[in-house]
């Protein structure tokens, strides 16, 4: 059942490339604008780069999540998902997984390219990529929770960033610290990993509960 939800989501995403390309284009455009706005100082740019990459990635994930449950809510698929014989959290996890594959994973893959754009030397690349690899699934899960909480509301998309942004702050702090700290960065990566396993364990349950509430409006 997990696989069939995943399969469905991937098919839908593959057939509507505009949906998932939009946040990635946003990411690239913003990252192009930073050097222009900050000015021609490679050192300053390199200093700010990890935070800029992370904040933009966070925005890109937020941007992409509004439609995650909305289409299914509007066409009635969510009702069938809640009524299905399997656990709702597993199906939600499959949806979040598909979402990550089409937003988080491309961001991870783009990160070396972003490093070059921001004048970061190549020794930063693995750190940034690893922090994004560990961090973006948490962002996807949190964003999905926001999407599930607001899916039944008419003005939900305005509320979503307000609810979710505070929850994303720890991820941002841990990730940027992990990149910035020279040798002891390991500890932050471990924290990030711990946060990921915590989110993977509990957030699907919260998402499932929110979806049930949204459907039984």
């Amino acid at each position: 059942m997990f696989l069939s939800v995943l399969n469905r989501e991937l098919r839908i995403a593959a057939r509507s490339p505009g949906e998932w390309l939009q946040p990635l284009c946003f990411l690239l455009i913003v990252m192009t604008l930073f050097p222009l706005g900050i000015g021609p100082s490679p050192e300053l740019l390199a200093m700010l780069a990890p935070a800029l990459i992370w904040i933009t990635a966070l925005m890109a994930v937020l941007l992409s999540v509004d439609r995650l449950f909305r289409d299914d809510f509007e066409d009635g698929t969510l009702e069938q998902l809640v009524l299905s014989s399997g656990p709702v959290w597993l199906n939600s996890l499959a949806k979040v997984g598909a979402h990550w594959l089409f937003t988080g994973l491309p961001i991870v893959c783009l990160s070396p390219f972003l490093c070059i754009m921001m004048n970061l030397s190549s020794q930063w690349m693995p750190k940034i990529a690893l922090s994004l690899l560990l961090g973006t699934p948490i962002l996807s899960l949190l964003a999905a929770l926001g999407g599930a909480l607001t899916v039944g509301l008419r003005q939900g998309s305005a509320l979503l960033p307000v609810i979710i942004m505070p929850l994303m702050i720890p991820v941002l702090i841990l990730a940027t610290q992990a990149i910035a700290s020279p040798a002891s960065g390991h500890a932050y990566f471990l924290w990030l990993g711990a946060l990921l396993s915590f989110s993977l364990t509990f957030l699907p349950l919260a998402i499932a509960a929110s979806l049930k509430v949204a459907v039984s409006r």
Binding site: M1, R8, I12, D72, T77, E79, Q80, L83, S216
Partner: protein
């Protein structure tokens, strides 16, 4: 607990309020095997809400609803649960997999053909008409075996042939000892005795 095996569902004194308005109060009825329950009433009288309560989607009600032990449900609501970016086959096999059922592709194609959708095999559902998408959603009635069907306005958007097909499916389901609850503003064209539950708007 339901003791008699012929009763699928028994509701007693169901009260539902929505938006500070009582939709229905002290509603009692039962659904037996081979029985159609036709929910009737003007717009806004709570037919869809009652159906959603029976489906387990709406839980904000008082009263008691008991089910036969081994009952299974098919709920086909106002919304078709048909995703436009998928083909009819993909949509149906997804709905089936949600019920934990795997059906061979050929069997789904046969069901689609029965519903007059063989030409649309390779088109995406967003290219289909309203009635065709309704047919896609009703295909699962043929492919999933469950004892109780909850259908919300199943005849809307269907042409004559589609309606006749749906009626035949319902008749077969009733003959097999299933129960059927449906809302419909028109008379139900099923050759079977029909129990009507009239919902009166109360204020």
């Amino acid at each position: 607990m339901i003791d008699s095996p012929s009763i699928l569902c028994r509701a007693s004194n169901v009260v539902c309020e929505r938006n500070q308005r009582t939709l229905f109060s002290d509603l009692s009825f039962r659904l037996e095997r081979g029985q159609i329950l036709h929910l009737k009433g003007p717009n806004g009288s709570g037919k869809t809400t009652l159906l959603r309560i029976l489906a387990g989607l709406f839980i904000d009600y008082d009263g008691e609803i008991e089910w036969q032990k081994d009952h299974g449900l098919i709920y086909a609501g106002h919304q078709y649960a048909v995703q436009g970016q998928l083909t009819p086959l993909e949509n149906i096999s997804f709905i089936l997999s949600l019920q934990g059922i795997a059906v061979a592709r050929d069997e789904i194609y046969r069901a689609l053909a029965d519903f007059g959708l063989e030409d649309t095999r390779f088109s995406l559902c967003r290219e289909l008409s309203e009635g065709q998408r309704k047919r896609v959603t009703l295909c699962r009635l043929k492919l999933i075996k469950q004892s109780v069907w909850l259908l919300d306005e199943p005849y809307s958007a269907l042409d004559e042939a589609g309606a006749a097909l749906l009626s035949r499916l319902c008749e077969q389901h009733l003959k097999d000892g299933g129960g059927l609850v449906m809302t419909s503003h028109q008379a139900i064209p099923i050759a079977h005795s029909i129990h009507t539950l009239e919902l009166q708007p109360c204020f």
